[in-house]
């Protein structure tokens, strides 16, 4: 699987108390070209990240199918309740099947 040439960012706290709700902030630099835009005389071809997946210790907790109306540099925030320490991993995949990944561990205790 090839890598998406974008820089993914995942911001989550490194530690949480048992049962605490934490905020996951996800950002990736990407033009999200719809193919409908005209930039002066040129029309950049369609180039979209179509899928976002968030997993906690491998189990899917959130996914998104992104379409034309999602902004360039897609930004998403969701909230997780943490009962125990876990690895949070995020994957963004474009229409050509290229994926960018970010992950971080949250220590609970």
């Amino acid at each position: 699987m090839s890598t998406l040439p974008s820089t993914p960012r995942l911001r989550i706290p490194a530690r949480a108390r048992p049962g605490e709700v934490i905020e996951l902030r996800m950002l990736i630099d990407h033009p999200m070209e719809t193919g409908l835009r005209h930039d002066g005389s040129t029309a950049p071809p369609r180039d979209l990240i179509e899928r976002l997946e968030v997993r906690r210790d491998g189990a899917l907790v959130f996914a998104a199918d992104l379409r034309n109306g999602t902004s360039p540099n897609p930004y998403h925030v969701v909230f997780l309740r943490m009962e125990r320490s876990a690895e949070i991993s995020v994957a963004w995949t474009d229409a050509r099947g290229r994926t960018a990944r970010a992950s971080a561990r949250v220590a609970v205790g």
């Binding site: 835009r37 930039d39 906690r56």
Partner: protein, 142 residues
């Protein structure tokens, strides 16, 4: 006289830059998302700016009422911008590992319109909410 009528009729068929998705495209997108379900108004809080300066980056916060337990949770949230050239913004899939049915994102908005959000619950119920906003500079075509 006949020629003028023909000219007017022809112009009506020419697509123009600011064109929004038509009602049929929106209806098709909604049906693809929720099938034959009939949405019930309410149960979702939407936060958008009343006026967005940059239509390419409009903050949207969605909070659907749900305990997000294994037995009772929102399974999907669908976002539509009916006034954009294509109405689809995103479809979110939610699992009970989430603390709440709350998502913040940023969307493209072409022109003044009401953003439509549908929340699908585990029991099949679909709730609906919309939020009107204006944009200073459209975010879809330039």
């Amino acid at each position: 006289m006949r020629r003028r009528v023909f000219l007017v009729a022809s112009l009506a068929l020419v697509p123009w830059a600011g064109q929004a998705a038509d009602a049929a495209a929106l209806e098709a997108a909604i049906r693809e998302a929720i099938g034959d379900a009939v949405p019930v108004e309410g149960g979702i809080e939407l936060r958008v700016p009343a006026v967005a300066e940059n239509g390419a980056q409009v903050p949207l916060a969605i909070v659907a009422d749900s305990p997000m337990t294994e037995a009772d949770h929102v399974t999907a949230i669908h976002v539509f911008a009916p006034g954009n050239p294509t109405p689809g913004v995103a479809s979110f899939r939610l699992f009970p590992g989430l603390a709440r049915a709350e998502i913040h994102t940023r969307i493209r908005v072409a022109e003044e319109q009401a953003i439509l959000v549908l929340a699908v619950h585990g029991n099949g119920m679909v709730r609906r909410a919309s939020a009107a906003l204006k944009v200073t500079r459209g975010g879809c075509l330039s």
